[in-house]
């Protein structure tokens, strides 16, 4: 039985990637343990982390790196799997994990930040780097990375079930078009053009766009809220932030897990995961989005069929189980 030590954030308002990965590794008969990168620290790290305003400075990184190494030394994992961006484990510790303990050290880079600050030092050290964004692959190769692969986002369908929920609570989230995400100018620009639709916007920092105020819900987005929104919106808009070039985030996959229909800006990786026009709708600009929204809101059966097709595709190819199988294949562990 292979042992995988996952290091990743847990207290985040996004997909529960670290925990879902752990679950998926266990389903593949691996023994998996998780070190949270932002809670359950030993007292000293906890103290320094809080005293630094919950920021990762050099001291926190040094202490946390030592903590990860000690945990690995005690447990002796085959793989140390860093997920997200590696803000926490120093390059020296990566070398120690490999040379002193014989672990493979793997990164799943989710935020395209591996060239930032000290993280760049570690690029050539990882045994494998999986990137959410295929654009990074050649860049990582010329930067000295040994084995680089694309690993797309995914979702855990078990987490997206409306069973046991009060139908009246769920129905409160009904809308023709919804958007979940923080406010960026490019998103506001497109959503502004949809102000005459039954549009609801959920997310942070939208107060700076008063013209959208009537559309913005200050509803706090819990995991369950996201599920209710995706499953009650006829159309879920996805406007990718500028930090991804070819890649796609987890939102589209979560919407698909709920049987929701995503209308998304184009990204090459997204088009590889979901077939445009039959599993997802791609739009070029606000005008194109309006035209497509008008068409599909008048043809709800087609919209529903797209949602079902997206869910089928997700179940067949884009769950955490699929991603972990891919990881293990590359690591030649399975």
């Amino acid at each position: 039985m292979y042992k995988v030590l996952i290091v990743g954030a847990t207290t985040v308002n996004s997909a529960d990637i670290s925990l879902s990965l752990k679950k998926a590794f266990e389903k593949q008969n691996c023994e998996a343990r998780l070190i949270s990168a932002n809670e359950d620290f030993p007292f000293l790290i906890d103290f320094v982390y809080h005293a630094a305003g919950k920021k990762v400075n050099d001291k926190v990184r040094s202490l946390f790196s030592r903590y990860v190494f000690d945990k690995a030394k005690t447990w002796n994992p085959d793989v140390v799997f860093l997920n997200g961006s590696n803000v926490f484990v120093s390059a020296t510790t990566i070398k120690d994990l490999q040379n002193k303990l014989g672990c493979k050290v793997v990164l799943w880079e989710l935020n395209n930040r591996c060239f930032v600050g000290y993280q760049a030092e570690a690029i050539s050290l990882y045994d494998h780097i999986f990137s959410l964004d295929s654009y990074l692959l050649p860049v990582l190769r010329v930067s000295g990375a040994k084995n680089v692969h694309t690993l797309f986002a995914c979702a855990d369908p078990q987490e997206y079930s409306l069973e046991n929920l009060d139908a009246t609570q769920v129905a409160k989230f009904k809308s023709d078009i919804s958007f979940i995400g923080s406010a960026y100018p490019e998103r506001a620009e497109i959503l502004r053009q949809l102000a005459d639709y039954d549009l609801r916007i959920y997310g942070k920092s939208w107060k700076r766009y008063p013209e959208l105020a009537s559309r913005v819900s200050d509803q706090f987005i819990m995991d369950i809220t996201k599920l209710k929104i995706f499953s009650n919106s006829r159309i879920s808009i996805n406007i990718q932030g500028a930090h991804m070039i070819n890649g796609e985030n987890f939102r589209v996959f979560e919407a698909a897990a709920c049987g929701g229909v995503s209308f998304s800006t184009y990204k090459p990786d997204l088009a590889q995961c979901f077939k445009p026009d039959s599993e997802i709708i791609i739009f070029d600009d606000a005008r194109d989005l309006r035209e497509k929204a008008d068409y599909y809101l008048a043809h709800l059966a087609e919209l529903q069929a797209i949602g079902q097709a997206a869910r089928r595709r997700l179940l067949a190819e884009h769950t955490y189980d699929h991603r972990v199988k891919t990881i293990l294949k590359y690591l030649q562990l399975n």
Binding site: T10, T11, F47, A51, N164, Q169, Q219, F220, M222, I224
Partner: protein, 131 residues
């Protein structure tokens, strides 16, 4: 949802039959939190915390990050006798949850309070270091 279950498993507490949730602030938020717990613990009876009710297996305080540490701990101490198994603290802004078994609550609260005081002192001196 997986996060809530994960945090509960980490506490080492047995599966709860009843969870009582007290949520600070708007009722919409409270409803979402209740649904979140109900979804994460489908075999458990999850209800809003009510002082008139009987004790629950686990009592959870859901709060915004602005709530003072002392107020959170005071809530825990006040309701310790109403929880059979443990007390939960759920900071919704940070999506951070901890369950503390009743048997170790006092020691945990003292350590937590001490750390928060120490952090406050460090932050205070850091703030005025260059003044």
């Amino acid at each position: 949802m997986i996060y809530l279950r994960h945090r509960y498993q980490l506490s080492g507490l047995p599966e709860p039959a009843t969870i009582a949730v007290q949520a600070e602030g708007a009722s919409e938020l409270a409803n979402e939190i209740l649904d979140e717990f109900a979804h994460a613990f489908p075999k458990t009876s999850v209800a809003f915390f009510s002082p008139k009710d009987d004790i629950a297996d686990v009592c959870v305080l859901a709060f915004r990050v602005s709530m003072k540490t002392t107020a959170r701990l005071a809530w825990g101490s006040r309701n310790l006798s109403r929880a059979r198994l443990g007390i939960g603290f759920f900071c919704v802004d940070e999506r951070s949850l901890i369950f503390v078994p009743c048997s170790v609550f006092t020691q945990w609260a003292v350590a937590f309070w001490a750390r928060s005081i120490a952090v406050d002192i460090v932050c205070f001196f850091r703030k005025y270091r260059y003044v």
